[in-house]
């Protein structure tokens, strides 16, 4: 079974600075997908970014980028120019590209607070 670990329960950053959230995962598969989801106080789950394991290039979405290290099974999220609206719980998630396709396995979450 796959596991996803987020070792940082809480992080904080000053507005306009950069912060990196860590995520490691364990799998024996070669084809899979990785995600970062954001959950603001509204409770809504919002997809931030997605990475396909077969792509070597790191995914980026505006101020959000990932550092995908397949051999190390590491998938960190970098938020640049942090904004107050980035304050949220962030979840790393794994999806198999094989027989368990469609089923997300989530990490424990990291609470990020952006201070003015």
């Amino acid at each position: 079974a796959q596991t996803v670990t987020q070792s940082q329960p809480e992080m904080s950053v000053q507005e306009a600075e950069t912060v990196t959230l860590s995520c490691t995962y364990d799998t024996s598969e070669n084809n899979y997908y990785l995600f970062w989801y954001k959950q603001p106080p509204s409770r809504q789950m919002i997809l931030v970014i997605r990475q396909e394991a077969y792509k070597q290039q790191n995914a980026t979405e505006n101020r959000f980028s990932v550092n995908f290290q397949k051999a190390a099974k590491s998938f960190s999220l970098k938020i640049s120019d942090s904004q107050l609206g980035d304050t949220a719980m962030y979840f790393c998630a794994f999806m198999s590209g094989g027989t368990s396709y469609g089923k997300l396995t989530f990490g424990q979450g990291t609470i990020l607070t952006v201070h003015p």
Binding site: V4, Q6, Y33, F35, R43, Q44, M45, L47, R50, E52, F91, A93, M95, Y101, G102, K103, L104, T105, F106, G107, Q108, G109
Partner: protein, 111 residues
């Protein structure tokens, strides 16, 4: 309706009672999922359905049942609620790509 709706938004329930959490999507997505969110554990998959008429068990299915009579609806039933089922429940759907869209969640408290 736009996207996924869940009802109720929140509920307090006595232990032993039966409860059905409703989930409806209007995006004609084939696949639907139920997750529960608990502090320190993230979200965990309870049940899923790849298409209408089929369902499958996720990571934590015990005490829960689902049905998928049509494409749009995917209710989750707790036959006899217990306090350990106190959680926030999320329904999600997908076209079959890797991207899932989540509903707003239901906060359930079992006393």
């Amino acid at each position: 309706i736009a996207g996924i709706t869940q009802a109720p938004t929140s509920q307090i329930l006595a232990a032993g009672r039966r409860m059905t959490l409703r989930c409806t999507q209007d995006m004609r997505h084939n696949a639907m999922y139920w997750y529960r969110q608990d502090l320190g554990l993230g979200l965990r998959l309870i049940h899923y359905s790849n298409t209408a008429g089929t369902t499958g068990k996720g990571e934590v299915p015990d005490g829960y049942s689902v049905s998928r009579a049509n494409t749009d609806d995917f209710p989750l039933t707790l036959a006899s609620a217990v306090p350990s089922q106190t959680s926030v429940y999320f329904c999600a759907s997908s076209t079959g790509t890797s991207i899932q869209f989540f509903g707003p969640g239901t906060r359930l408290t079992v006393l």
